[in-house]
C-alpha cells in the first residue's frame, strides 16, 4: 500500500511521469533489492556473452583473451563468405527452415480443422491426445525412431513401399542427399503437428457459432463453411504465428540435422549452428564460429522486422 500511495501521490502532483526521488526509492527498497539479483543475472548470462561478439573481429586466441587478441577487422567475415561450405550451410538452414515453416503451418491448420470436424467427441479427444505426445519426446528419441522407420532391414517405410510396388528394393534413405530435407521435414511434422494445432483449435472454438448456423441456413456445405468461415476466422492467429516463426526459421536447424546427418549427406545436412559447433568449438576457431553466429542473429532479427513490417503494411496483426 505504501508503494501504491507513494506512486499515486506522484502521479497526482507531478503529472503522469513517475519521478524517482528518495522517498520512492525508500518505499520500494524491498522490491529494488529483489530486482537487483535478477538484473545482475541477466547481465552476466545474456549481455556479457554479447561482448564476446568482439571476437569475430579479432584473431581470438584463448591464451591472449579478449583484451590482448589481435584485431583483424572483417577478415573473419570475408573468410566466412568465401567458404563454400558456409554458403551451403546458409542455403541448407534457410531451405529446411522454410520447408519446416510452410509444411508445419499448413499441416497444423489442416489437422486442426479436420479434428474439429471429426464427428465423435471421444474420438476427437483420443486423436488429439495421441497427436501431441511426440512433442514431449526428445529429439534423440525421435531421431532414433527415424532410424528404425527408415532402416534398410525391416524399416516400415521400405516394407510398405516395397509391398505396394512403389520401389523395387529397400532404399537407404539417409544416405541420399536428395531425401534428407524431406526426412527432416517429415520428422518435424511427426513430432510437432499435433502440438502446433492446439493453438489453431483454440482459435477455431472462439469463432462465433452463429456464422456457421447462418451459413447452414443458406445451404453451405461442410467444405464451403471451412473455406468461408473457419479459415478467415483463423487468419489473425495464422498471421501472428507466421511472424513469430519467420524469426525462428534460422533457429529451427540444429538438433534434427545434427542427429540425423552423416558423412554421406553432409553437403545438405549442415546448418549454420552445426558449422559453428564444428569450426568454432571442435576446431577451436572461436572467431570464425562467432562470426557465423553473429550472421545468424542479425539475419534472424532482420527477418522478424521484415515480417512484422510486412504484416503491418498489409493491415494485419503485428507483434509490435
Amino acid at each position: 500500500m505504501k508503494d501504491n500511495a507513494a506512486g499515486l501521490g506522484q502521479t497526482l502532483t507531478k503529472g503522469p511521469r513517475t519521478l524517482i526521488n528518495k522517498k520512492l526509492l525508500k518505499n520500494q527498497r524491498t522490491l529494488i533489492l529483489m530486482g537487483i539479483p535478477f538484473a545482475i543475472y541477466a547481465i552476466i548470462f545474456c549481455y556479457v556473452p554479447l561482448f564476446g561478439w568482439i571476437m569475430a573481429f579479432q584473431n581470438y586466441k584463448p591464451k591472449d583473451g579478449l583484451w590482448h587478441s589481435k584485431f583483424v577487422g572483417l577478415l573473419k567475415f570475408k573468410r566466412l563468405f568465401g567458404d563454400d561450405v558456409f554458403l551451403k550451410t546458409i542455403r541448407n538452414t534457410f531451405c529446411m527452415g522454410a520447408m519446416n515453416l510452410v509444411f508445419g503451418t499448413v499441416c497444423a491448420i489442416a489437422f486442426a480443422i479436420l479434428l474439429n470436424e471429426f464427428w465423435t467427441v471421444k474420438g476427437k479427444k483420443v486423436v488429439q491426445t495421441i497427436s501431441y505426445l511426440p512433442h514431449f519426446l526428445s529429439w534423440i528419441i525421435v531421431t532414433g525412431i527415424c532410424f528404425d522407420v527408415l532402416s534398410m532391414d525391416n524399416g516400415i517405410i521400405n516394407e510398405v513401399l516395397v509391398g505396394l510396388h512403389i520401389i523395387k528394393e529397400p532404399v537407404i534413405w539417409l544416405a541420399h542427399p536428395k531425401y534428407f530435407w524431406w526426412i527432416v521435414t517429415f520428422s518435424n511434422l511427426w513430432k510437432e503437428t499435433g502440438w502446433n494445432s492446439i493453438i489453431y483449435l483454440a482459435a477455431i472454438t472462439s469463432i462465433n457459432p452463429d456464422l456457421y448456423e447462418a451459413a447452414s441456413i443458406d445451404g453451405a456445405g461442410r467444405l464451403s463453411k471451412i473455406w468461408h468461415i473457419t479459415l478467415p476466422g483463423l487468419k489473425p492467429t495464422i498471421m501472428i504465428l507466421l511472424i513469430m516463426n519467420i524469426g525462428n526459421v534460422l533457429n529451427a536447424g540444429f538438433e534434427v540435422q545434427y542427429l540425423l546427418g552423416n558423412g554421406l549427406v553432409q553437403s545438405v545436412s549442415q546448418t549454420i549452428d552445426i558449422y559453428v559447433l564444428k569450426f568454432g568449438i571442435s576446431n577451436g576457431d572461436y572467431s570464425l564460429g562467432t562470426a557465423a553466429g553473429i550472421f545468424k542473429s542479425v539475419v534472424s532479427i532482420a527477418l522478424i522486422a521484415i515480417a512484422n513490417f510486412g504484416a503491418k503494411a498489409a493491415g494485419e496483426e503485428s507483434l509490435f
Binding site: A39, W53, S131, G144, W190, Y212, V276
Partner: protein
C-alpha cells in the same frame, strides 16, 4: 442402428458443449426427438466428408502410434530373432534381456541419477526464480519495472550465440560441473511473461490488504500470489521439467569430459551414434551368439528414457494444453 444412436449421443454432447461451433445449437432438440430428422439433415456430402475425415484421422493415429508401439515391441524381443524382421506391434520372442543389458550398461545409472537430479532441482529453482521475477515486475508502481522487463524481453530476441556463451560459462567454471544444467536456466524470459500476465490479473486489493496488515513482499509473494498463480505455475514448471529431462546438448557441450555428469538422453545419444556409425557391430554380436543386438538394446534404452514422460503424460496433458493457450498471449 447402434451406430446411429452413438452418433446422436455424440451430437447431443457436442451441441451442449458451449464452445463447440459445429452445427446449430437450436437444432439439437430436434435431433434428440427423432432419428428421422437427424438422418435427413445429414446430406450425402456430410457422409462422404465424415467418412474421408475418419479415414484420415485413423491413418494419422496409426502413423503417430506405430513407431512408438514398434519400439516397445522391439525392446521386449529377442535380439537375434529381431534380425529376421517382421516384428510390428508385438514381440515375437519375449525377453527382459535387453532391459537387463541396458540398465547394467556403464553410464546408465549415473545418467539416470543426474537426469532426475537436474529435472528436480532445475525445475524447482527455475520456477521459483522466474515466479519471483514475474512478481517483482507485476507490481504496478515499481519504478524499475520498465528497464528490468526490457532487460529480459530483449534476451528473447538477441543472444550471444554458442561460442561466446560457452566461453562465459567456462570462465564462470560452469563447464564440467553439475550447475551448468541448473544456473543458466534459472530465469526464463518467456515463462516470466506468461507468469506476469497471469499475476497482473490477480486483483490488486488482495496484496494491498495484506500490505496493510504489515506483510512484506516476500510474504505476499509466498502466501498470496504464488498460491493463487498455481495453475500457471503448474504448467510452467511442467514445461521446464520436460525441457530438463529431454535436453542432451548441454551435457555434450559442457560436460563431455566428466562421465559422472552424463545424462540419460546423452547416453541414449551415444548409443544411437555408435549403432549408426558402426553397422559391423551387428555382425560381431551375431557371431558371438549374443541375444542382445544394438537395435533391440537401443529400443530398450529409448523406452527407459521416454517412460517417465509417457507415464505422466495422460495426467499432465491438460496442464500442457492450458499452458499453450495461456502462452499465446500477446505481449
Amino acid at each position: 442402428m447402434v451406430e446411429r444412436k452413438d452418433q446422436i449421443q455424440d451430437r447431443v454432447v457436442r451441441s451442449t458443449k458451449k464452445a463447440e461451433p459445429i452445427e446449430s445449437r437450436a437444432k439439437s432438440a430436434e435431433e434428440i426427438t427423432g432419428n428421422q430428422s437427424l438422418f435427413s439433415r445429414r446430406t450425402t456430402g456430410d457422409i462422404i466428408f465424415d467418412s474421408i475425415n475418419t479415414v484420415i484421422m485413423l491413418l494419422f493415429t496409426a502413423i503417430m502410434l506405430y513407431p512408438l508401439i514398434n519400439t516397445v515391441a522391439m525392446s521386449f524381443n529377442d535380439g537375434l530373432d529381431a534380425l529376421r524382421g517382421g516384428i510390428h506391434l508385438l514381440p515375437r520372442e519375449f525377453t527382459w534381456k535387453n532391459y537387463e543389458t541396458v540398465l547394467a550398461k556403464q553410464g546408465m545409472a549415473d545418467g539416470a541419477k543426474i537426469s532426475v537430479l537436474r529435472t528436480v532441482i532445475g525445475t524447482v529453482s527455475s520456477t521459483l526464480c522466474t515466479a519471483l521475477l514475474a512478481y517483482v515486475l507485476s507490481r504496478k508502481n515499481f519504478i524499475f519495472k520498465k528497464p528490468l522487463s526490457m532487460l529480459y524481453v530483449v534476451t528473447m530476441y538477441v543472444n550471444g550465440g554458442l561460442i561466446p556463451v560457452f566461453l562465459v560459462y567456462k570462465s564462470l567454471h560452469l563447464t564440467n560441473s553439475f550447475w551448468v544444467y541448473i544456473i543458466p536456466g534459472m530465469v526464463s524470459a518467456w515463462n516470466m511473461l506468461v507468469l506476469r500476465t497471469y499475476m497482473n490479473g490477480i486483483p490488486e486489493s488482495l496484496s494491498e490488504s495484506a500490505e496493510l496488515d504489515g506483510a512484506g513482499h516476500f510474504t505476499i509473494f509466498f502466501k498470496i500470489i504464488f498460491p493463487l498463480s498455481m495453475p500457471v505455475i503448474a504448467c510452467v514448471s511442467l514445461f521446464t521439467a520436460v525441457g530438463q529431462w529431454n535436453s542432451w546438448f548441454d551435457a555434450m557441450l559442457y560436460n563431455r569430459m566428466s562421465d559422472k555428469l552424463t545424462t540419460l538422453q546423452y547416453e541414449l545419444m551415444k548409443l544411437l551414434s555408435s549403432v549408426t556409425n558402426n553397422n559391423a557391430n551387428v555382425e560381431t554380436m551375431k557371431n558371438a551368439n549374443n541375444v542382445v543386438t544394438p537395435r533391440t538394446m537401443r529400443a530398450a534404452a529409448t523406452v527407459v528414457t521416454a517412460l517417465p514422460i509417457v507415464c505422466l503424460y495422460p495426467f499432465l496433458q491438460r496442464y500442457f494444453v492450458a499452458g499453450m493457450t495461456i502462452g499465446g498471449v500477446k505481449e
